[in-house]
């Protein structure tokens, strides 16, 4: 837990904000982890907001200078968060949870992001590229006005964009890009986005490409203590049980996730 100074804060698409703040000392993180951010010091919005780590500027550990996240202003808490100005402090817990697993030998990874599921793909792309894995990003949005991070991701490899209304890229869904040919070239996939997208991706990849899904759930504590954020998973013994998104996840091995 730390109070971190806001370094950048600006709108990057309609109601989509880019927020960078100073990194805590000895930052340790993996892509896919989240930060648990308090939006006010008062009690009117008590719970912290989980927001994925998007990008870490500088090198790891004590050398990293800033953490950036990208978030959508949707409800009351993010509305308050948007009002914070450069120079103000932010009460941040984390990085928390279980991020994406990188596999050293991978030659080609597909990064699949939908809407506010796109941000964690940036740091993931960075780290995959660094270890020599080629990256193709497939990202989907409602429409062009809320599209984010396309440019950032294009630094690491090809970016395929889909929008529901066709206002940017392909008209359709991210899964429309997932041809047999493309999947045949991929060693791994990493996906984050709305549940319907994750369900479709899981089905599409099943038996073809191994990979990970990053899930969302409403949280209380964010650290595994309150049992608020459970999600159905296939356990090691084959039964279906609950895992905690905040602690066991948010990232799970794709075949383990059981959608309702």
């Amino acid at each position: 837990m730390a109070r971190l100074t806001i370094l950048e804060h600006r709108e990057i698409a309609e109601n989509m904000m880019w927020l960078a703040f100073s990194a805590p000392q000895d930052l340790r993180y993996t892509p896919g982890q989240f930060l648990h951010i308090r939006v006010t010091d008062g009690v009117d919005h008590l719970l912290r907001r989980p927001i994925s780590l998007c990008y870490v500027q500088g090198e790891g550990g004590a050398k990293s200078q800033a953490i950036a996240v990208a978030y959508r202003v949707g409800g009351k808490g993010t509305e308050l968060l948007r009002k914070k100005k450069v120079g103000e402090e932010l009460d941040v817990l984390g990085p928390l949870g279980n991020g994406f697993t990188l596999h050293e030998g991978d030659r080609h990874a597909l990064l699949v992001g939908g809407g506010i599921g796109v941000p964690p793909m940036v740091e993931l792309a960075e780290q995959l590229t660094q270890q020599g894995t080629k990256v193709t990003s497939i990202i989907g949005f409602q429409s062009a006005n809320v599209a984010i991070l396309q440019e950032e991701l294009s630094r690491y490899g090809e970016v395929l964009v889909a929008t529901n209304d066709g206002s940017l890229g392909l008209q359709g869904f991210v899964t429309d890009y997932m041809t047999e040919e493309l999947l045949a070239t991929a060693d791994r996939f990493y996906a984050c986005g709305p549940t319907p997208m994750l369900r479709a991706v899981q089905a599409k990849m099943d038996g073809k490409v191994e990979g990970y899904l990053s899930l969302e759930e409403r949280m209380g504590c964010g650290i595994g203590a309150c049992m608020a954020c459970v999600t159905s998973c296939r356990m090691d013994d084959g039964s279906v049980g609950y895992k905690k998104v905040c602690k066991d996840g948010p990232v799970f091995s794709a075949p383990k996730v059981v959608f309702a």
């Binding site: 008590l46 719970l47 209380g220 650290i223 203590a225 049992m227 608020a228 459970v230 609950y242």
Partner: protein, 310 residues
């Protein structure tokens, strides 16, 4: 009025807590997660998540919602069952050398008795806290929490099998909290903890359905503090067993408000989610308050709001 040090210790029946702060059940898991943030041995005691006889999966999600100044939860008593709790969760708490209170839940009197009996096999249980007040489980104990007669019956039954002190946790969702408190005192309760959550609801305007999957949930956090303080104030004057007060405690001042209302000890719940360091900060804050105000023992403040001024 200068004091050098403050006697922070309090007694819950035969148990001595080195300071008056415990954790509220369900808000601290079995302690593990918070051990990453601080040394749990600073706590006055630790109260763990509700335990039932069988493992329980709990309710579907969403299980929590934010409300003005508070939150709703409907976890639904998810827990691995008393066997696993005894085997896997409790032993590691011994190293902190603080009393461990185990919250017990069930659907029938037999359930409560069975869990308690099973817990008596463990050396790691210093008190049982009887959760007769969880609003989030159908037939899950709430009837015991709203009827003095049934509350007394379950208390008596547990007392008969427990060799450790029995703390009964009261529900605030009643017309007459004092009647409930007197009933469980008469039935042999060693202490009372109060309050559990108020039954509430939030509606998702987009879905046009209750936001929490369970429909209703339990309201906790600062929003409920005035209700909790009021009930503590009333019950403290009506019973002679100690009270563990809770409901919305975020700061040391909040804790002292409960103690002045008549609580012997306090529990911190929702605050742990907002600030994982809430408990140690509150403990230090109480000590500092006493130093600043020349109070030699925290026990001197107990019930100060209704006791004759010295």
């Amino acid at each position: 009025m200068t004091v050098r040090d403050v006697d922070m210790s309090v007694r819950i029946g035969p148990i001595t807590m080195k300071n008056p702060v415990t954790t509220a059940s369900g808000c601290f898991g079995f302690g593990k997660e918070f051990a990453d943030f601080y040394d749990l041995s600073v706590l006055g005691s630790i109260t763990v998540k509700a335990t039932t006889i069988e493992p329980r999966l709990g309710n579907p999600t969403p299980r929590v919602a934010e409300t003005p100044g508070g939150m709703l939860n409907a976890i639904g008593l998810q827990n691995p069952g008393v066997e696993l709790v005894i085997a896997q969760e409790l032993p590691h708490l011994r190293r902190y050398e603080i009393p461990v209170f185990v919250n017990v839940a069930g659907t029938t009197v037999e359930d409560y008795v069975d869990v308690t009996k099973r817990l008596m096999d463990s050396e790691d249980v210093d008190a049982v806290e009887v959760n007769i007040s969880c609003p989030n489980v159908k037939c899950g104990g709430i009837q015991f929490g709203t009827d003095p007669l049934q509350a007394a019956q379950v208390t008596e039954a547990i007392k008969r099998v427990s060799r450790v002190p029995v703390i009964v946790k009261l529900s605030p969702n009643v017309t007459d909290i004092v009647a409930m408190a007197k009933a469980v005192e008469a039935a042999g309760a060693d202490a009372i903890s109060m309050i559990n959550t108020l039954v509430g609801m939030s509606i998702d305007l987009n879905k046009r359905r209750p936001l929490i999957a369970n429909g209703v949930g339990g309201l906790s956090g600062p929003a409920v503090k005035p209700v909790a303080v009021r009930m503590t104030y009333q019950v403290a004057q009506a019973v002679s067993i100690p009270i563990i007060g809770m409901g919305g405690i975020m700061t040391a001042e909040d804790a002292i408000e409960f103690i002045m209302a008549g609580a012997t000890a306090v529990a911190v719940g929702t605050a742990n989610f907002v600030n994982p360091l809430a408990c140690p900060e509150i403990i230090e804050g109480i000590r500092q308050y006493c130093l600043d105000h020349g109070i030699a023992s925290i026990r001197d403040l107990q019930g100060a709001a209704w006791k004759e001024l010295a």
